[in-house]
């Protein structure tokens, strides 16, 4: 028994961290954040080069054959940098195909997902906060799909959509198909742009194992969000330490005020304590299927919630400047808001985890 990440995993994090530090420092992130598209093709190309297009996909399809735990570790680092990219949707769609696709579907799409020749995303949410497989309602008719999905990340960049439909099934739709309409929505988190996607008799293919794996796909997505918040919160703590360590008030450093120091200590205690939960929940997806759904729900609720509290404190400790558009805090603050709500708020996840625990 060994509860910790391996040297390879540390190396993976360091590699991605090095890439993020060099290729997506806050100054660069700012450009993308303020930009029209929210996308940086070069950055994404670099991520694909590192293998982030198919981290968990089988090596047979050009993937790296890694585990959900590795994915979570990468997601954490991307959260640290609030890295804008199609990573989230692309990864979730890849898992759906890998777990639920037919051999043909997999052979046809996965190598292109791994290489990034095709950008994919997952369309899960519907109106009225219907994120969960049992709530999906889109109907198919003779190989065509009709209805609307919301909060689809990087939909404008995607060539392929994995769409949650009624019966908890998953359908593949090509973005270029007739009847697919993508309407960008002005989302709060400008590091991950979202769109509403309407399907009007758009031709689709069902993933044969879709409804068997839809919950598992959702759980993996929950882990990605939790890990992202863990990284984002940690970066906010670091930013706060840096800021309060240089900011002078009443003749001394802000950090010399006990109230400030204690607030930072509380943030650090809160966030650092959630890291092991994040690891466990990710590991459970790989190895402990019975515990995986429950662990994912708890991790998503708890980590994204604590991260939001840390983001709130970081904002407050930055003083007035923290409220400005120019201050970098907002980019992570809004990312934490996104992670906390997408796929279901902590309240929703807690009700789910309670049910899964048999309470």
């Amino acid at each position: 028994m060994d509860f910790g990440i391996s040297e390879e995993q540390e190396l993976l994090q360091e590699t991605v961290r090095g890439f993020v530090t060099n290729e997506c420092p806050a100054t660069h992130l700012r450009e993308v954040f303020d930009g029209e598209s929210g996308h940086d093709p070069e950055l994404w190309a670099g991520m694909l080069e590192m293998g982030l297009g198919g981290l968990t996909l089988s090596e047979d399809f050009g993937g790296a054959g890694l585990d959900i735990l590795d994915l979570a570790l990468v997601s954490e680092v991307l959260g640290e940098g609030a890295v804008p990219s199609p990573f989230f949707g692309h990864t979730v769609a890849g898992l759906a195909l890998a777990w639920g696709g037919s051999d043909e579907q997999k052979a046809s799409w996965l190598p292109r997902l791994a290489s990034g020749d095709v950008v994919a995303t997952a369309a899960l949410a519907e109106a009225e906060n219907r994120w969960q497989p049992e709530q999906w309602s889109l109907e198919t008719d003779k190989g065509t799909l009709t209805g609307s999905k919301q909060f689809v990340t990087s939909a404008d960049l995607a060539d392929l959509l994995v769409v949650g439909i009624s019966g908890g099934d998953l359908a593949l739709v090509e973005r270029s198909a007739d009847g697919v309409d993508v309407t960008p929505v002005e989302g709060l988190d400008r590091t991950r742009r979202v769109a509403e996607v309407n399907f009007d008799s758009a031709s689709c293919e069902i993933l044969p194992g879709g409804n068997r794996v839809a919950n598992r796909v959702r759980d993996a997505a929950l882990i990605l969000l939790a890990a992202d918040s863990l990284g984002a919160a940690w970066n906010l703590i670091q930013m706060t330490i840096d800021y309060t360590g240089t900011r002078q008030q009443f003749g001394t450093n802000l950090t010399q005020f006990q109230a400030v120091k204690h607030q930072i200590a509380n943030m650090a205690a809160d966030i650092e304590q959630t890291r092991a939960l994040c690891w466990y929940a990710a590991y459970a997806q790989d190895q402990l299927p019975d515990d995986a759904p429950h662990a994912a729900a708890v991790a998503k609720a708890h980590i994204t919630d604590r991260a939001m509290e840390a983001a709130r404190d970081a904002f407050e400790l930055h003083g007035g400047i923290g409220f400005t558009w120019e201050c970098d805090v907002q980019m992570w603050f809004k990312r934490c808001m996104f992670n906390r709500t997408v796929l279901g708020t902590p309240e929703i996840q807690r009700e789910r985890s309670a049910a899964l625990a048999g309470w």
Partner: protein
């Protein structure tokens, strides 16, 4: 304790209400620019004794005997009619009382009446990038050259700077003097050459604040309020008013009622969220905080009316801290109720003062503003120090030796 209005007050309310039938203006007057209409109607209110009751007639007020009840009735009825009465702008609410207390006769005569009427508008120049809660470390300098102050530096968090005719603010006039002692309170024409205003964008996407840059900006020597080097003391009179503003219970009431409405309009498991036991508990807890704040407001009004403010120092000082916390509780629950809808970026309108109530974007912006409020007008930590030291008699913080 008596929460009934006596007959006298019932009659007074009817009288005010009848007067307010006159708003909006009709006939030819309705063709005037809105700002002009507002000035006219405000002047009528002053004549009737409804508006600026605490200011002498000599300076454009209506000079009425203090009567908290009448004032409350007026406020309620004006709000109901959306009519222009006492302005909440920084000129009437902050500068005018300061001039009344500490200005020269010439300053009072020149500025107070047009400020109250709305003919001269003001912005505030206290904060600087390096000096938020710690005003003593201000850097923007004003040097007396002949009969003019020459100003160089940089102010921030200035609301309505682009609309204001004048700024009242703090400037370092005695660079050799230590900390507070070197600061003076000056009035500056915002049309003066050398002033540059840049809107400051907030994380909500709106631009309620500005930066103001001074490059050899000149203002007459007589535009100083109080003595040279005593600006700090002058500003404290003003700041008192601002702290009160931030704790505005009407604002909180609207936010609270809006939250209840949201809980009625939102669904949980197919039923209104307000029926969900968990949401009900949170709402009811918020109600406890809200009612405490609301009745504390009434308590403070009565204490003022009775001239017993000395008895309510603690509740007065703790109101902001409590209100800040409550506003955060309210907006946080609103976001949880909104779920996905909280993820849409607020529009500029939704991030600004007077944003349309109850819209998801307004809530999202308000969630962020509520955190910012714990910083504005003295950060919460500073408030806690003040409460501890001034209201509870606790000792001052340990300081590094100077």
């Amino acid at each position: 304790m008596n929460l009934e209005y006596s007959e006298e007050y019932v009659a007074f309310r009817a009288e005010v209400r009848e007067f307010l039938q006159g708003w909006p203006l009709t006939g030819d007057e309705a063709q005037l620019p809105v700002h002009e209409q507002e000035i006219r109607f405000r002047r009528r209110g002053i004549e009737r004794g409804y508006v600026y009751r605490n200011f002498p007639r000599a300076y454009g007020g209506s000079e009425q005997t203090p009567d908290v009840l009448r004032e409350r009735i007026i406020r309620e009825e004006y709000a109901e009619a959306s009519a222009p009465g006492d302005s909440a702008g920084q000129g009437p609410s902050m500068l005018a009382p300061t001039l009344l207390e500490l200005g020269t006769e010439a300053q009072r005569e020149r500025f107070i009446a047009p400020t109250l009427a709305g003919e001269i508008s003001w912005c505030q120049g206290y904060s600087e990038p390096g000096a938020g809660s710690d005003l003593a470390s201000l850097q923007t300098r004003a040097e007396l050259q002949g009969d003019e102050w020459v100003i160089n530096g940089h102010k921030i968090w200035t609301t309505t700077a682009h609309e204001a005719d004048f700024m009242f603010g703090l400037f370092r006039t005695e660079p050799q003097a230590p900390k507070h002692a070197g600061i003076s309170y000056l009035l500056v024409d915002m049309k003066a050459p050398g002033i540059e205003i840049r809107p400051l964008r907030e994380m909500t996407g709106a631009s309620m604040f500005n930066e103001v840059f001074f490059d050899n900006v000149r203002t007459p020597a007589e535009n100083i309020v109080g003595k040279r080097g005593e600006g700090w003391q002058v500003s404290r009179a003003t700041l008192k008013h601002e702290r009160n503003l931030i704790g505005d219970p009407n604002f909180m009431r609207r936010a609270y009622l809006s939250l209840l409405q949201l809980a009625r309009d939102t669904t949980r498991n197919g039923r209104p969220a307000i029926e969900d036991p968990s949401i009900r508990q949170e709402l009811a807890q918020i109600e406890g905080f809200f009612m405490s704040l609301e009745y504390t407001g009434a308590r403070l009004l009565t204490a003022t009316a009775r001239n017993e403010e000395a008895k309510v120092i603690l509740p007065m000082m703790t109101m902001k801290l409590y209100g800040t916390d409550l506003r955060q509780r309210i907006t946080r629950l609103a976001l949880d109720l909104l779920e996905n809808r909280s993820l849409i970026a607020p529009t500029e309108e939704e991030g600004s003062h007077g944003a349309p109530e109850g819209r998801p974007g307004t809530w999202t912006a308000d969630y962020m503003s509520a955190i910012a409020i714990s910083i504005a007008g003295g950060a919460s930590n500073i408030q806690r120090n003040i409460i501890g030291e001034r209201a509870l008699g606790l000792p001052r913080d340990l300081r590094t030796p100077k």
